[in-house]
Symmetry: C2
Subunit: 443 residues, 2 copies
């Protein structure tokens, strides 16, 4: 109970799961504290648009305080969670701690390198605004540096882009890079021809977009190839360094020289999952997600919920709920109901996941979508994709501007947010990462 | 002569001066190389809007390559100028060199601390996109951190903002901060009242906005005070550190405790001015600007022009042309004409500066403007200011979106680009700067 005598709900994470939980508790007489180390909610499905200069970070981020400015039962705290004291019902923060009656942990996931974290420097992932700005800088700098070199041979290393991982993010990145090279930058350079660009999409699986029906994936692959993307499946990454990637194929080991390697191959759950696993005995899966019970709580802790990308909820099929925004939002709504039901002394049936379908965009006017047994491709799927994403983004804040920016980009082929900032990119023989060191943690 | 036999023009800097020169040479049969270390033109007059979360960097920056995509006689090079070899007519770059027949140096100015560069860490200036993001992060973090403290006394240090320098930029910053504290964040915090914020605008001069007529400046000062800004003139900065500022007033030395000090007190010319001064004997003024001749060239080098914020052009009054965008643009046009006149064997009359007037905005619906002998204040001046800035920004690229974003912000009091990124800000007792170290320069 809080000083006001109300049930205290602490929500860790302002992503889709945490946000939905807090919003669904809008009319419930509880004291909610939403803690996040960032001050904004990020609409991650459009992050690839920032990485490729189509949108500004501000277009796809909404300040958490704005979102809850008028929901008076929410208190936003910007801080980092460093641990949990479950017996005392406390969340430990960098600065202080928070007491809870109900705890909702929705801290999401970060880029995962299958244990090869040393690849991160040469193969940035795409999970944060900083990642997107880093990728945007690298990609644009590659073109700038290539424009100074005399021959196509000298430029080849700089103008080869390898995208690792052919899930929706990898497909979106590869497709957008192809568009940039062939359309956006077409008139921009005097020496290089941006169409010299090679874009290689690599995946270890037998085909791209494994989570989608095979005919849809094939449609997407055909479209990507028409756009000039080389699609290579059953190719396993062995090594990433400044020179490029080393891969294992059916034919043996192969080197691909590339100054730009973008990582879209996997995510790993927030380290908070491991802390909760140690405290409760709930097992972790291979992606570091913690197994939750049928009501999304942890064993022995009926007041601790884990949802979203860091939770492993087993479906009747034996598979886990996929790490997508709609799943996190459904879980957030369920948790809000579960908390409400405590006041009504009723027991909620177990959580059930409704697959709302999935969609991936490939480029201008091209996408794939499957909704139940319905499948869509091409322009119709793209309009559907656009419509659903815009509805969602507009529902968080009034982001009608994103629609206008998109309409503008679409009509003009332009990408106006093409800023290279934080000048830390060079491609002089090899690619260096920007190291942001801060001396902030020791006071 | 270039390989194509054309007169080679090298322009250093993609600001207002360099851009105008290149555009004015659109139809002249010359080979233009525009070199800038950044890949974008920045519309600096609106940078304070980025620093205060009203606009995204992408809204006020246009890729140089986009601007010149269809002007085929311009070649854009992203590189840093490290020197000049005037006898050999070469510009020395980090990577290579550029030969010229005519050289236009328009490298602008940077924040100046009157020889106290150690103040920079605790008092960031506002000249680059990175500066604006740094200030945005510091300001927003101050509110976040203050919200964790229990008493108004404990919060005072964090919620005191000192703006040093009461020229147009300082006035705009102070006014916008006041608006943020009193309107934008009004409903955002549960513990602090953003109106606890103290905003102090300091200048050593006898009044604010010395470049403006006194009645206009007084009008602006009255408006600022109505908005809650403390205006302190005849106050000289002695020291800036993490605790705040030490100032000298008529009453003696005074300490002002403030976690946030923003520097709008002065600029110093690009170091390239010094290099050119050493090479030509042309003197530098106190702000590091190089004195140019009546045709904007350097003595003994009729093919070397220096324009914009790094040039000191003496007016008949004995004063220098002010460092404002319209001056740089007029000079750019003059230089383009001078280069054209070489082909026609005519001699241009000396450059003359036309004062188009000046304007500064104070906040919503408030600005001051003087155009010739006409003076405007309040809403009319603000609409005028908005109109002129939008016309200009739209003329660089089709930035109609900025208009829409502004209309939106205006109607809703919102500032949606309120992202704290690059997490390097703390105010734990004192303020630390984010150190961005890059290991990029040694290969």
């Amino acid at each position: 109970m809080s000083l006001s005598g109300k049930h205290r709900v602490v929500i860790v994470g302002g992503g889709f799961g945490g946000l939905t939980t807090a919003k669904a508790l809008r009319k419930t007489p509880v004291d909610i504290t939403l803690v996040d180390r960032r001050n904004f909610h990020l609409f991650q499905p459009l992050l690839y648009q920032v990485a490729t200069g189509g949108l500004s970070p501000g277009n796809i981020a909404a300040p958490l305080r704005s979102i809850f400015a008028r929901q008076r039962n929410v208190h936003v705290v910007m801080d980092e969670v460093i641990g949990f004291d479950l017996p005392r019902r406390r969340v430990l923060l960098q600065e202080g701690e928070l007491a809870y009656d109900s705890l909702v942990v929705a801290a999401g996931a970060k880029t995962g390198y299958f244990g090869n974290d040393q690849w991160a420097e040469n193969a940035p992932g795409l999970k944060t605004v900083e990642d997107a700005i880093e990728i945007r800088g690298r990609v644009l700098t590659a073109f700038e540096e290539a424009d100074k070199l005399p021959t196509p041979q000298a430029r080849e290393h700089l103008l080869t882009f390898v995208v690792v991982g052919a899930g929706p993010t990898g497909v979106e990145l590869a497709g957008t890079l192809a568009e940039i090279a062939r359309h956006t930058l077409r008139h921009d350079f005097r020496i290089i021809n941006p169409a010299e660009t090679r874009i290689i999409l690599i995946d270890a699986a037998p085909r791209i977009l494994m989570a989608y029906a095979e005919d849809l994936a094939m449609n997407a692959q055909k479209k990507l190839m028409e756009m000039g993307v080389e699609v290579r499946t059953q190719v396993k990454i062995q090594k990433v360094d400044a020179s490029g990637v080393e891969v294992m194929t059916a034919q043996g080991v192969e080197q691909i020289a590339a100054a730009n390697v973008l990582w879209a191959a996997g995510v790993t759950a927030s380290p908070l999952a491991k802390l909760l696993s140690e405290a409760t005995g709930a097992p972790l899966d291979r992606q570091g997600r913690i197994e939750v019970q049928s009501d999304l709580t942890l064993p022995g802790h009926p007041q601790v919920y884990v949802i979203g990308d860091m939770a492993h909820f087993k479906l009747p099929s034996g598979q886990a709920v996929p790490g997508v925004a709609p799943a996190a939002m459904q879980q957030g709504k369920y948790v809000a109901k579960a908390i409400q039901s405590r006041f009504q002394n009723i027991t909620l049936p177990p959580f059930t996941y409704t697959d709302l379908g999935s969609m991936a965009t490939i480029g201008r006017k091209a996408a794939i979508a499957q909704i139940g047994t319905w499948k869509f491709t091409g322009l119709i799927a793209w309009i559907l994709w656009l419509f659903i994403h815009l509805i969602q983004i507009v529902s968080f804040e009034s982001r009608i501007l994103v629609l206008i920016q998109w309409a503008w980009n679409y009509l003009t082929f332009s990408r106006s947010a093409r800023l290279i900032t934080q000048s830390g990119y060079t491609h002089g023989g090899h690619l260096r990462a920007t190291h942001v060191t801060n001396s902030a943690d020791n006071n």
